[in-house]
Symmetry: D2
Amino acid sequence: MSAQRLKIGCAGLGRMGKRHALNFLERTPRAELVAASSPDPVELEWARAHLEPFGVRLYQNYDDMLKQEGMVAVVIASATAVHAEQAIKAIAADKHVLCEKPLSTNAEVSQSVVDAAAKKPHLKVMCGFSRRFDISYRDAFAKMQAGQVGTASVFRSQTCDKLDPSGFFVAYAEFSGGIFVDCSIHDIDLALWFFGANSRVKSISAVGNTAVEPDLRKYNDRDNAVGLVEFWDGRIAFLYASRMMAAGQEDVTEIIGTKGKLAINTQPAMNHVNVYDAGGIHREIPQTYYDRFEYAFVTEANEFSASCLDNTPLPLDLKSAVQAVQIAATLQESMITQKKIFFDEGGDRTELACL
Amino acid sequence: MSAQRLKIGCAGLGRMGKRHALNFLERTPRAELVAASSPDPVELEWARAHLEPFGVRLYQNYDDMLKQEGMVAVVIASATAVHAEQAIKAIAADKHVLCEKPLSTNAEVSQSVVDAAAKKPHLKVMCGFSRRFDISYRDAFAKMQAGQVGTASVFRSQTCDKLDPSGFFVAYAEFSGGIFVDCSIHDIDLALWFFGANSRVKSISAVGNTAVEPDLRKYNDRDNAVGLVEFWDGRIAFLYASRMMAAGQEDVTEIIGTKGKLAINTQPAMNHVNVYDAGGIHREIPQTYYDRFEYAFVTEANEFSASCLDNTPLPLDLKSAVQAVQIAATLQESMITQKKIFFDEGGDRTELACL
Amino acid sequence: MSAQRLKIGCAGLGRMGKRHALNFLERTPRAELVAASSPDPVELEWARAHLEPFGVRLYQNYDDMLKQEGMVAVVIASATAVHAEQAIKAIAADKHVLCEKPLSTNAEVSQSVVDAAAKKPHLKVMCGFSRRFDISYRDAFAKMQAGQVGTASVFRSQTCDKLDPSGFFVAYAEFSGGIFVDCSIHDIDLALWFFGANSRVKSISAVGNTAVEPDLRKYNDRDNAVGLVEFWDGRIAFLYASRMMAAGQEDVTEIIGTKGKLAINTQPAMNHVNVYDAGGIHREIPQTYYDRFEYAFVTEANEFSASCLDNTPLPLDLKSAVQAVQIAATLQESMITQKKIFFDEGGDRTELACL
Amino acid sequence: MSAQRLKIGCAGLGRMGKRHALNFLERTPRAELVAASSPDPVELEWARAHLEPFGVRLYQNYDDMLKQEGMVAVVIASATAVHAEQAIKAIAADKHVLCEKPLSTNAEVSQSVVDAAAKKPHLKVMCGFSRRFDISYRDAFAKMQAGQVGTASVFRSQTCDKLDPSGFFVAYAEFSGGIFVDCSIHDIDLALWFFGANSRVKSISAVGNTAVEPDLRKYNDRDNAVGLVEFWDGRIAFLYASRMMAAGQEDVTEIIGTKGKLAINTQPAMNHVNVYDAGGIHREIPQTYYDRFEYAFVTEANEFSASCLDNTPLPLDLKSAVQAVQIAATLQESMITQKKIFFDEGGDRTELACL
């Protein structure tokens, strides 16, 4: 370890942007947050109070920030719609990039980021799939690699958010790409991690409903969705996403192998407290995705910084982020069109459904 | 309660037959096991040691047993292939019938039992879906009925057997109707219970693989199977069945409602013991379906007896057993043909898949 | 197994008496409940409805019941105050005896039952420590015997009742012998089982309080009590008893060995249901001792019957019941006098405390 | 929040010293580690690699470090034997002090630190009872304060370490003050927190054994110890400490109130992974105290820094640290002498034991 620190700027200071900014400011010893940008005056106001006193330079304009002397990396935590554009600009400006997931809600646009990065192999460009940095998922992956469950054959995973009674997620659905692209993309990324990035999809089918928020249909979205992904080597992933959990965030994964099963978070808990009272035994669970994965984001910031400073391989490959978007978008399509969608071994769609 | 007891005969003395016979002999105070039949000399040998000393009359031939004086009911625990035939004969002989699930692997044959029963409304004819008698499922159902989880909207359920390394299940697959008919039928029955027997299927899709036993393909079967059932009111059931669990029997159900979730057996345990040792904390889980549901079978025997003796309604309706077979067989078909299968609101198949 | 059945009578038809009577009537295939006695007209009224129709003869007077032709055993479930007297009379009448715990709240009186039984070695005389028949305790014991935790060295156990807001337990305390004799006796019996009946006590100390029911002090009792029992071989048992649990019955035991720990019921649950709602995850726990140990009582009835019929050794030794009472009464004394009490290796009290 | 940072030095660079140094260096945004001292050349070697490159000045001599310009606080993580001396010197040098527990193994020496601090009320002097900073304990405390369990009446707590097969703890026992002072002091501090610092002890009794390491007796220590602490208001604390856990660190606390119970860590787990295999369901647990409480130490560093910078009250009172040592040392004495020890309401010992 050297005393050199990664000078990084943060694009976007919304909910996730603030977290990334503070993580790079306070919890990433080998990084130094030197800049932050947001077009939003309210967000900049927050930054003047919480970032500027610690030497962080603020920008209204992302392009201006990119020109800041000495800054060598950016973390992109802006709206999904501009992820790809900002990433490509940063690459052009010769910056390392940590981009929030997804690169884009569209697979082709996502691919354009990969293409841009491919031309600058000296840069570290990573899509931040936070669960890959969570100690539980890593422990499970290590145990699978060590052969503890034999051959992983079936993968069940869910990303289920606590119901937001404000209904904010309806407006959000207009640009999110839909529940599979917004939520299940984490599960899909995990499936590609545990099954291997070379896994080729054979078929996709999905159903959804609107149990609490019929207005989601305006944007071709649903509040509960279940998807089946079948791979050419016979492996199966089945995914559940929901926006109406009552108790909190419920992100659960099971990897079922020929000799055992790895279960991650099948007994969710916010902390180590159980309350015994006249109603029985109670415990609380994390309320948000960040409650559950806070330390994974910290680890992500630290490992990204180390990769950039030490020029070591990134912990996850950018290409798999494109594949994840592709699968997510196809699940969304299958749910909306009601069609089962097939792919040949080369990855092209086939019309088997109509035989 | 009166001191009168239900005189009952047991058809079939295989694995489940022995259990039913002993339950009616020893753990059903209001019943009296008076007869048992099996064409198998080994099974009869067992019966001579364990049933005959307690006054149970033994038969090689089912039809002969039906003629036994005073016997007013039969429990049918023979091979699935003869369930329907034996049930219909018993009804013809004016006996109450408790038939092991499924009535048949075929929906039409199953319907013929319902039709026969419909003509003798004074008889009690029940298909033994054991989980309906389990205290945990009943507690969950009561809580749902009491409104604790709002409107049940998504149903996840699995019936997963411990791997039998003898591979017996391959031979068994020839006649079982397949993994959805053999295993998932329990989950389907539960879905119809929790969602209501009037739920009409809109679409069915399924995938499967053979992770441990490729030979299952000979009989159009799989060792892991995942199915999606969409209902016309928007509710969704997704089901997982497996024959390769390493730890034991894992039968889990979740009912996800608009205001909460009911989780049944998401933390399986054989008993109340945890072992702490150098490897961490360990517990064992039930090894077989009967380990898990033993007392549900006892309750089933007791409640069936009470219904017959007191002429009170049976705890579950025979018609729903036909619907369960129909859904199970369609899931099996979808898995094998790879097609998504659609139904109109009247219950007829449509060809939407080919649009 | 033969078809012969143990003809047994039940003394006492209070809360536990009813349960024992019904267990022998309905859930003990090798036994036949032939008689029952109670001096209480209300209890006899219940028996006329629930036992008499099944051929059980009823008595107001225990002595009369003992004379019933053909009856070869009695289960004594009357008030603790008459346990010993009834047991001795039954032995005198040459009956096998299953006596509810404790034999007496007094060690000398308890010993008199042992002495009476010793003179009739052909009789089976057992004190019903129900937990010895619980599958979890048995599983833990087998695991300890198999060496899974090394040498058992520390024993923690608790018997904690749900608060009865009627305050009934205050009146009850007058005759119960106190919280250690009434509740902790189960834990003491378990300690003697797991540590071995030859364990000799070296010191005893205890404290208690009256957190909810100060009136218990009238009868030298407490509603919370903690006791330490040190054995001459260095092993330690520490016990907690309470009458004010909010959630239900919490009976927990841990056996801590040199190579591991066995934990019994550290995660109590009434069944397999968890409810997820806005308050988090909830589950219910057993409300009463019988809720938790119902099937242990059934097993007890069955195994006692088998021992009598087959003349095989009883599953637990009568002498240890005396030792348990002795330890319990000394804990109670220590709690009330505030003194630590010492014993020499021969089992006699010493005055080491005053050195 | 201001951009000013607390310039702090770290005394001692052993196992805990390294952790404190790194926490103040990397995970305490409002602090700046400016100095570190150790008499041990190996520890200084480590510091040259891990601290010096980040601007931390190193000292062989604690007194020299105290003179460093600009340093305003010290964290004392040296051997327990010098805690008090170093704390008093730091106070004399007008530094804020965060001292690892215990202040001393001796209550009088501990009191001398309190006395020194009392003369400099502008300084922040805190004893680092890490569990007070753990989110689970804090959540439990908040729930108790909110009345969720009524009046807390019984307190059960344990600090149980994984067996160190090297037997290091035998040598360590010579100076640790014994198992109650070294381990149970955490539980005692928690009891004083949950019951209130004004709780006055009425009686203390304890027993111990040497199940795995008889050599501990040379230093009047034991490897398993159970203690009872009775307070004058009737509350009871019972404590268990062990050095022979097989599975890992097991630190459990229960607060039993008149309306409910708070249970902390009764279901220990290292992370969210459960492995299902042929042996059942397994999970790992933290292996060391630091594994379990790592983030509590980080919070401690951050909150201590904030108190010093903002001149706000410390989260815990120094006086209670003396009381904790006093109770711990009395438990140790009771265990060794076998005597129950009594105190009057003024806190003086009485000779009730000899009545």
